[in-house]
Assembly symmetry: C2
Amino acid sequence: MELVEHVARIPLFEGLPREQLHELVNICVDQECRKGKTLFSEGAGATGFYVIVSGKVKVYKLSLEGKEQILHIFGKGEFFGEVPVFAGGRYPAHAETLEPSRVLFFPRDAFMDLIRKEPSLATNMLAILAQRLRQFTHLIEDLSLKEVPGRLAAYLLCLSERNRASDTFDLDITKGQLASLLGTIPETLSRILAKMSQQEFIQVDGRRIQILDRSALESLAAGEKLVS
Amino acid sequence: MELVEHVARIPLFEGLPREQLHELVNICVDQECRKGKTLFSEGAGATGFYVIVSGKVKVYKLSLEGKEQILHIFGKGEFFGEVPVFAGGRYPAHAETLEPSRVLFFPRDAFMDLIRKEPSLATNMLAILAQRLRQFTHLIEDLSLKEVPGRLAAYLLCLSERNRASDTFDLDITKGQLASLLGTIPETLSRILAKMSQQEFIQVDGRRIQILDRSALESLAAGEKLVS
């Protein structure tokens, strides 16, 4: 397979015009690596990001005692290191090949020059990422609509208990934190809160929550009911 | 709240340097809209994207018979219309306010000029979107690790049945299509396939699947077992 075909399949670049794909191929460095090669180290300035053509790469941190904690194993067609490259920061972890691998390295300087020369590369990539983000948001919504309302109801009932079984109380954490706690994203949490309000299970005013229908929340928490 | 504070909270712009936030404020148009105002129509050239400061907006399509199908309802702090703006295309649906709303309109031309003048705005936004995409990928993984392996096992067993109960057969759809079918993303599907291979439930070679441990797949499909 030609290099440009590999580049065209990377989610970061999927759907870019052919000329821009070729410009990307021109700046990337095609590397064959032995097993156990360190690609970058935590704390080093991010000089570029990687795409795996074949093989496997582990991204890991080391504890103070030198114990390795693997954050992620990347395989064929996946990319990593792009966040600090775009943001202009340092690598947040170590990366090392787990087997003989072929990787493409996109140097930050050349990538930035390309964007300066051709801003539409950046806006095309923004479009790709924004589109993917939309799809992911919907998927997370689908996946969490099954479980998050129940967990949210349980959380609200527990909070009510802690407030001496009062029907009105304040959320003790931000909505962003609550979303993480429930395993979803703020957008989905907001939509679930809005639906529970529409159905008159609760009333929401900023961080203040009022329970309107305690038995509905109890059924939700027990998994007997769905927020429709 | 000052306009720049609203802009700073939009996920697209979260964490941008202060100067760039102010540049964005300078190009945006602050609009008070009555209920029922059309913000854009399907097929029109995308002249800009919107952020909701207060109120609600429905994004919908019309069927040939004129029946309305709501795709999404956006509320406070959410943005929409950005994909065709970045990509330079047409709006894929209609948008109309559901109640009196205050929205910020970011015109495409001014936004593109800003990026040409200051490419780091684009790369900073790429960093934000890439980071969010990473978080979402992990979350989808967490959410689907509970259910996808079971559904995948059921699918593989069914495929084996269709191939006269043979242990070796080819996937009849691409891995991307299979991921959608199972309600996840290709990255997660690949990782689940890799885990099932490590555990010697199956062997995967491109699209060819060989079942090594049929009873393990049956337990997975019945929800009795987890892929660890």
